[in-house]
């Protein structure tokens, strides 16, 4: 697997267009703390001092004109730095997750992309336009579901969609038909003439999604679309987002739900205090960052001490789980699994089962977050 990294000291567009190759193999020089990820992250740190890392995803050189190009974007609110020079791109048809804690800069980024806020440094281009100059043209081709849904509860769903159809310049001749189709598609046809105030959180979210599709936009900006939903409603909304992706729309999804990002996104951009920490495909990111997998081994409970001793002598970090007979071996790769099983069996420890737990985006995110917290 290969990964890309932008030259962190690149200050001109040409450099940004020519990503350097960067080995994704775990760092051979581990830090004093002896962790693969620690060593790797030290490299990451150096590389991203002024820019960001890009793993896996689309190669900017190979991509047709990206839908969104964010380059060293800065934004402050008084003394607070909301964005400190972030850079990333979103290609046509891609779904990119913007991840980060509350206050990481996700919503600010979306507002800058839409032209609702002016940047204090750097540039944004959407469909090749500058949002503060051609905001109207960008918003014409963009559907938005904001952090707060912005549904006037005193209107009915149909009234609300009619208002927004007018605001998005949907021709009058097709409005009724399109609204009816969207209400049907999002399961709101039965309640279309009820006031929004009577809707559940899931219904409101679906209505907000229907609203953002009224003008058949090419780009969707979704800010925490499932944050307030119960698991069933969130699942439904995720399915609706996945459908939009299959339709070929470009989606920028701001979320702090890592599971959601992992399921839906082609790439993720992880923000931390207004900076891009890393960027890449969730799976590739985990591998590239060297976030280790865990191996769960099920052995004879009475022989668990012997098993741990065998593994420790092979320089493996192993510990017993509360569940009888279960051992967890840290920092495992797929290739090491047969060796571990052979060593245990060779020492007279019967192995009843093994399972390699691959790192999730959550593991990656937590590892990155712990690292930044420690500094």
């Amino acid at each position: 697997m290969t990964s890309h990294v932008r030259d962190p000291v690149a200050t001109d567009d040409a450099k940004l267009q020519l990503p350097q190759r960067w080995s994704a193999e775990p760092c051979p020089q581990t830090s004093g703390r002896g962790s693969l990820i620690e060593g790797y992250l030290e490299q990451v740190d150096e590389k991203r001092r002024c820019g960001s890392l890009q793993f896996g995803g689309i190669d900017p050189v190979a991509t047709d004109t990206p839908v969104i190009v964010v380059d060293r974007l800065e934004r402050r609110f008084g003394q607070t730095v909301a964005l400190a020079g972030i850079s990333f791109q979103v290609a046509a048809g891609e779904i990119v997750g913007l991840l980060g804690h509350n206050g990481a800069g996700k919503t600010t980024t979306i507002r800058l992309v839409l032209g609702l806020l002016a940047p204090h440094g750097g540039t944004v281009r959407v469909f090749g336009f500058e949002p503060m100059v051609d905001g109207e043209r960008i918003r014409q081709r963009t559907g938005v579901v904001g952090e707060s849904l912005g549904l006037d509860e005193r209107l009915t769903a149909r009234e609300l969609l009619q208002v927004f159809a007018d605001l998005y310049d949907v021709p009058r001749a097709v409005q009724a038909q399109r609204i009816a189709a969207l209400l049907e598609q999002f399961g709101l046809a039965e309640v279309a003439d009820r006031r929004v105030a009577t809707y559940s959180a899931g219904m409101r979210q679906r209505l907000a999604l229907a609203r953002c599709l009224l003008h058949d936009p090419e780009l969707l900006l979704l800010d925490e679309p499932t944050a307030t939903l119960d698991p069933v409603a969130a699942h439904h909304v995720r399915e609706l987002i996945a459908e939009r992706r299959r339709e070929g729309r470009t989606i920028l999804l701001a979320t702090h739900n890592l599971d959601e990002a992992e399921r839906l996104c082609d790439r993720v951009v992880i923000l931390e205090r207004g900076r891009v920490l890393v960027e890449g495909h969730p799976q590739e990111l985990a591998a590239a960052l060297g976030v280790p997998a865990q191996l769960a081994v099920e052995v004879e409970p009475e022989l668990i001490d012997i098993a741990i001793d065998v593994l420790t002598r092979r320089s493996l970090a192993a510990w017993a789980e509360p569940e009888p007979g279960r051992i967890i071996v840290e920092r495992m790769t797929r290739r090491q699994v047969p060796d571990v099983v052979a060593a245990l069996v060779g020492a007279g420890v019967p192995v009843y089962g093994v399972m390699l737990r691959t790192p999730s985006l959550e593991d990656v995110y937590l590892a990155l977050h712990q690292r930044t917290e420690r500094r």
Partner: protein, 268 residues
């Protein structure tokens, strides 16, 4: 200017106002008080006070323009009282209604929209700042002007029916000037002030309280007339309307400059 967008904002705000009890109640109650109860009350007061002492009525009648005075002196004392009160002394007070309607709708449409966190969704659409501003202004001004004009018409009809006095004393020329020019003037003044206040203040209630101060000059004019300082004639009515229109124009211009996406969003 995309009129489809402007109309959408007007339609949305008016539908929402129609379904909002805190906004709708004053919009119904105030016109009833000022355009129905007040003329009936003054007309009845005139009947009951038909023996009003000349010392109280005389200064008011003397302050009238000579042509009006001559016609007024031909009426019964009770009718004289009703006409002086309705057509002159309390005429500026009816402007409180369009003022209140405009400020209530504008406060709901601007500060209220921000409070309910529905403004950003509008800002995320292609609508231009000036279209949104114009839509919000029309949504507040149109019902205020309509209620003001319709209310004055009803007030005059009620007053004529109860007092038995007709034109040119009821409605008087100053009353007509205040209705035709003053009603839209104060409506724009009220909503312009709300736009300005909304740029500084977050909540609907705060905006309503602050904009309530706008009624003070109208009450001041009424008190000045009652104390015999002056009685409004067509010149004063016209001058007052010009001042109101000029102020409203200035305030709306300033409000338009403040009405920008980023400023609206920052406060929200």
């Amino acid at each position: 200017m995309h009129w489809q967008r402007v109309r959408a904002i007007v339609r949305k705000d008016l539908t929402a106002v129609r379904r909002s009890r805190p906004v709708l109640v004053p919009l119904v109650v105030l016109p009833l008080i000022f355009f129905v109860a007040m003329p009936v009350g003054f007309a009845l007061m005139g009947r009951f006070l038909s023996e009003a002492p000349d010392s109280e009525l005389e200064p008011l009648i003397r302050a009238l323009p000579p042509s009006d005075r001559a016609q007024l002196e031909r009426l019964e004392p009770g009718q004289q009282i009703a006409v002086v009160l309705l057509s002159y002394q309390f005429a500026p007070l009816m402007l409180i209604v369009p003022l209140a309607v405009a400020t209530a709708i504008a406060a709901d449409s601007l500060a209220g929209e921000r409070e309910r966190r529905t403004l950003e969704a509008l800002l995320a659409t292609p609508i231009r700042d000036e279209e949104l501003f114009f839509g919000k202004v029309l949504a507040a001004a149109l019902p205020a002007i309509a209620i003001g004009w319709l209310g004055t018409f009803v007030e005059v009809l009620v007053a004529i029916a109860v007092t038995g006095v007709g034109p040119p004393l009821l409605p008087s020329v100053p009353l007509l000037i205040l209705a035709l020019l003053g009603v839209p003037g104060v409506a724009f003044l009220g909503l312009g002030t709300v736009v300005l206040i909304s740029a500084r203040v977050r909540g609907f209630q705060e905006v309503m309280q602050l904009s309530g101060l706008l009624a003070m000059p109208l009450i001041g004019v009424m008190v000045a007339q009652a104390s015999g300082l002056f009685l409004i004639d067509w010149r004063l009515a016209l001058l007052g309307c010009v001042v109101v229109w000029a102020t409203a124009f200035g305030i709306l211009r300033a409000g338009r400059r403040l009405f920008q996406r980023e400023a609206l969003l920052r406060l929200g």
